[in-house]
Symmetry: C2
């Protein structure tokens, strides 16, 4: 049976990834334990995912991809998204999961409903793991990656490529997922250092 999701308070009490060593501790003993962060960018047709390994403030690219669910009726497509994400989680065993908060255009409720369906399935795949889970607004992701909240998609993609020293090309969906994983890595590192402005972000 699925474990329950950890509360936000529990998330805030997670061990600091860049904690200072105890006084007198040997240098070799203070290596920060790596944390695997999975970023997800859900959609009813394409769901991006990206996996990073974070050690303190450093993040390293591990894997990324996208789940294609363009075929069949909506329930089938949602099943593809769900099974795809469960397979990614089972294979890559993340420690934490991050999702971008969806921006919805006020005037397009029908699109919001369809997007919500894919998003609900992605949240469910995350919730079933019982892993710490966080959401970030698009502006937060942009701020963390590009230094300002109004960066465009291309700028974000360029920064993700630079920051993670990506060699291969990745789909837009995978890049978006890597961006939210990077944002989460940044926030969790900053929280562990006691940054007051970010403590309420997750």
């Amino acid at each position: 049976m699925a474990r329950r999701l950890k509360s936000l308070d529990e998330l805030r009490r997670l061990p600091a990834v860049s904690a200072a060593p105890a006084p007198g501790a040997r240098k070799a003993a203070v290596a920060v334990a790596p944390v695997r962060v999975l970023g997800i960018d859900p959609g009813s047709r394409y769901t991006g995912w990206g996996l990073l390994e974070c050690r303190g403030q450093r993040s390293q690219f591990l894997a990324a991809g996208r789940i294609v669910s363009t075929q069949g009726a909506m329930p089938e497509r949602l099943l593809t998204v769900f099974e795809g994400l469960c397979a990614v989680i089972a294979e890559h065993r993340p420690d934490e999961i991050a999702l971008e908060e969806t921006f919805v255009n006020r005037s397009n409720a029908q699109s919001a409903l369809v997007l919500g369906q894919a998003r609900g399935v992605a949240m469910l795949a995350a919730a079933r793991t019982g892993l710490p889970f966080a959401e970030y607004a698009a502006a937060q992701v942009k701020l963390a990656i590009a230094g300002h909240g109004r960066a465009d998609k291309q700028q974000i993609a360029q920064m993700v490529k630079l920051l993670l020293k990506l060699q291969a090309a990745h789909s837009e969906d995978a890049t978006d997922a890597l961006a939210v994983a990077l944002c989460h890595a940044h926030v969790r590192g900053t929280i562990s250092q006691g940054h007051p402005a970010l403590k309420g972000s997750w």
Copy 2:
């Protein structure tokens, strides 16, 4: 692993529930096999469900209830909806599943997104069973239950109670779910009789 959902064409080729007996067949042999229909009315806080047993044009109430998911963060609530629906399906073993198409207010995309999340999870619970699945617009449900597409909630509830000879009181969510199950029972019965106007409904 989950079986794939049947296509709409497959649904249309389902055995007719009120098929005429083969010429010369004994009367005792033409008893129509009962079909269990589960109606679902998903929501992020309350998800109604209602189960009917249909024999030809007759529908009999079997069970109904609602899943309460008002506590916790959204992923936890979606997990409650999903696990609740999976438990209902496992316990009551429906043969077919029906969902009401969600009406979304154009100006409220945020609500549509939240509702979509619960709806996605309900669709997933249905899709994982591999059972025939159908969706009905609210107007179709009203037409099937009350004879016109503009009946209000109270009229529909009254008709559901009358048609199913309900003794006990049920929540609004459970009644809505029974209404969509009744609509499905009506449509599948009518399709099996070759009603041309309804053949495209599922």
